[in-house]
Symmetry: C3
Subunit: 345 residues, 3 copies
């Protein structure tokens, strides 16, 4: 049995707080791109590049901005930010959002844990001693909430999430499967023969409206806490080292790695696979392109990159030999320039 979620256009206009031009009784049962939409679907036009697709779409309604409205012959939802309205609409059609409440018979909830109203603790989840979970939060199957951790309201932890002890999570936080919050930071003192472990006595503080992707890991601090501020969005397989502070609304794409004691500002965007070495800071509104490595602090907003670009391997092999000689090439060039008379060629 597949659950169908549907709304009339009138309902959608009201829920999305946008103006409707067209048939308020038209029933919408899903979202689709302009190209793929069939009857009954709601689509959107955000990037003007695709305006020509308005002519041929079979969508029953389109979210678009007022200045595009004339090009659209079907029902319209007029929004100043069509992409944002599409995002809000998508949440209305999310079948995964359906909620239970209670504690599954197979879950292990310590008797000292405090669960808010309308929480759901799913099958085989484990909630250890002293944990506090806010109202309407969901702890997925197989997830483990370590001793003394605090989870806010309306959180959604998917299956097989792990929180270590004494972690603090705000409201409306979504953690995907495989996420590990509060594992030990990587700290050792080398005594000349072996690495002596530095116990990680801090914890992790996660703000509200944070989302963290599958198999991402955020380590607890050595002495102080690792801090993820409100509104931060972290993709899959991202690693955040101990004592980092990630500023509000920063976005970190998949497979990025941030070493320990890094402060990253607000509204940054780290491209996929990027890396940041330890003990540096990055200003607000810095963007990194994919697989960039930041090895010094960045003090100014802007877009930064590293890497050579891709080429055929045969070409690349010749060029990397020369990269090794680059300093010498530069010096030889300077020498030649000295030998030649100044002035325009």
């Amino acid at each position: 049995v597949t659950k169908v979620i549907s709304y009339t256009l009138g309902e959608l206009a009201s829920l999305l707080k946008v103006a409707l031009e067209g048939d308020e009784r038209c029933v919408i049962d899903g979202l689709a791109s302009l190209q793929d939409a069939q009857a009954g679907k709601l689509s959107f036009l955000s990037n003007p590049v695709y305006i020509s697709q308005l002519a041929d779409t079979r969508a029953s309604a389109v979210i678009l901005s007022a200045d595009m409205a004339n090009a659209c012959r079907t029902n319209k939802l007029i929004s100043p930010q069509p992409y944002v309205s599409y995002a809000r609409a998508s949440q209305l059609f999310d079948r995964a959002a359906v909620k239970h409440s209670g504690v599954h018979a197979s879950a292990c909830v310590d008797k000292t844990a405090i669960l808010g109203k309308d929480c759901y603790i799913a099958a085989n989840a484990v909630v250890e001693a002293g944990v506090v979970i806010g109202n309407s939060s969901y702890i997925g199957p197989g997830s483990v909430i370590g001793e003394g951790s605090r989870v806010g309201a309306r959180c959604r932890f998917h299956a097989n999430v792990t929180l270590y002890h004494d972690v603090s999570v705000g409201d409306h936080v979504e953690l995907h499967s495989g996420v590990v919050i509060g594992a030990d930071g990587f700290g050792f003192a080398f005594n000349g023969r072996e690495s002596v472990k530095i116990a990680q006595l801090g914890s992790v503080i996660i703000g509200s409206h944070v989302e963290i992707g599958a198999c991402s890991t955020i380590d607890r601090g050595a002495l102080e806490n690792t801090v993820i501020e409100d509104g931060v969005k972290i993709d899959n397989q991202v690693q955040i080292g101990h004592n980092c502070k990630i500023g509000e609304h920063t976005v970190i794409c998949g497979c990025s790695a941030v070493a320990g004691s890094v402060r990253i500002g607000r509204y940054c965007v780290l491209g996929g696979g990027s890396g940041v070495v330890g003990h540096i800071h990055i200003a607000d509104r810095v963007k990194l392109s994919a697989m960039s490595l930041v090895s010094q602090s960045i003090d100014e907003a802007g877009t930064y990159s590293s890497g050579t670009g891709l080429m055929e391997t045969t070409v690349w092999k010749k060029n990397i030999v020369r990269f090794r000689q680059l300093d010498s090439i530069s010096k030889r060039l300077a020498k030649l320039e000295k030998k030649l008379p100044r002035g325009k060629a």
Copy 2:
């Protein structure tokens, strides 16, 4: 108690469908390389570079091609593809393949789930409502199969695998521990202050004969599905973004990251740690060397690379300073060339 698996050479020749030259009653109880093999072991020669090892091997039998047979003084299994025959032989000696069936008392299987014949649902696994699992499939301890997902026949999901809701998996698919299939794609609409989540309403469709390594993650699509075609092999800690389509028999090595909406062709090989930016395509039979970043579509089969190559850090530090000046170096060189008379030096 260690289980011993053994076959006579006659049995092996028949199971592997290869010709035997030698003693059909010789008992083989394992596989080993030519160098390490002891009596009772079966070895193989695939790369002619190692032909000299045939003289000294203590293996009781060797898989090799007809043209190498003369150099081998022990029992032989003659195969046109010795490495492939070795692969098939290795499967015969896999002790991990031993099967149970039934549902472990501690597993939570929803009453609406449908399990095929000879399935095994291991300890503390969770199978949610509406799930369908094909014949002879194995769901490992602690694994979670989300609501409405469909798993084919003869699948093997190791311990602590997570499938989200409504995921579809073909036959004979092996998922290793920590794999997460169907977590939300990373999609947000920025409204000027914060990132508004785009609910990920698509799913993930995985074909047959697919293997996915430990802690790899494949996100569900935003509107359409993420698709992994038949025969794709994905190593550990690989990330595949939402709406990607990975073509048949493509191989993706460990720690690679593919951003969203990428189409990768058939029979490609992505080297370890490689990255692909979003919204591009890669043709069939493209190979990437390790840690390459693909930032534009690749339209032609071939081998591609990026990166500088490794060098002593002291040398590297001088050269990266020059890399920053490379455009200027190039222009200064062009200027000098103009100043000098044409013709051979």
Copy 3:
């Protein structure tokens, strides 16, 4: 209820085996940096750069070396290796180290498994047939120990760790959540149409005093074993391929990837996000800077790097065009040099 751990300075001096100068009855209830310390805290001075902070610290005691002692006006613990003594002190204050023993009612322990004295098997953990676990080891909630695996004494496996079958782990090993040990190495024989799986018949042998970070994966060997020697420390999200051997006391930082059949020496340090291609070796005491790619064997101790360094994206775009032309730039320069008379400019 927050547990408070405290010691007198006299007790600490004795436990850390260092000399005390000051009040042996002073009570210490935690650690802090010189800058952040309040009364009751123990701090440390390791790097002489921070000696000026001694004057203003409010710490009740400081661990430092004898030659720094004069600059310190509070209680002192005199250590020849202050950072190592701080590491040992941190372990004394680790609240996570508090132990239980027994088997949680919800854990599934096979009747053929052998558990040492004072082990604890936590909620919903699974211990399969034939497993042997040494004294005082802890298996966290949701962790799975596969058939026939052996775990030494005083190990700590956090929540949701997975060991496959027949893995061997030494004493005093800490595995963080999401770790997967013994998944299949990535081995296939291509038969011209499809990849035929090579069953991975070896296992993983982990020495003693090893720590492995969250979501790291270590694959089992194809024929022989993958080996992690004593004292190796591996950070989060690291991938170690099949048949690798990692030498004693080597440290591998987060998100690094080591392909198959690599031998890495002793006392190496792999920077975060570094990569090592397959079938090569790395000598003892090699250091790699972050995101370096090793594509050939390294025979000599030293520090190695790759990559271009970071720059503004506008600058970078110009330079990567030139990188593609680098071999030609080098040749054109050589040609010019030939045209000009030798001798100093």
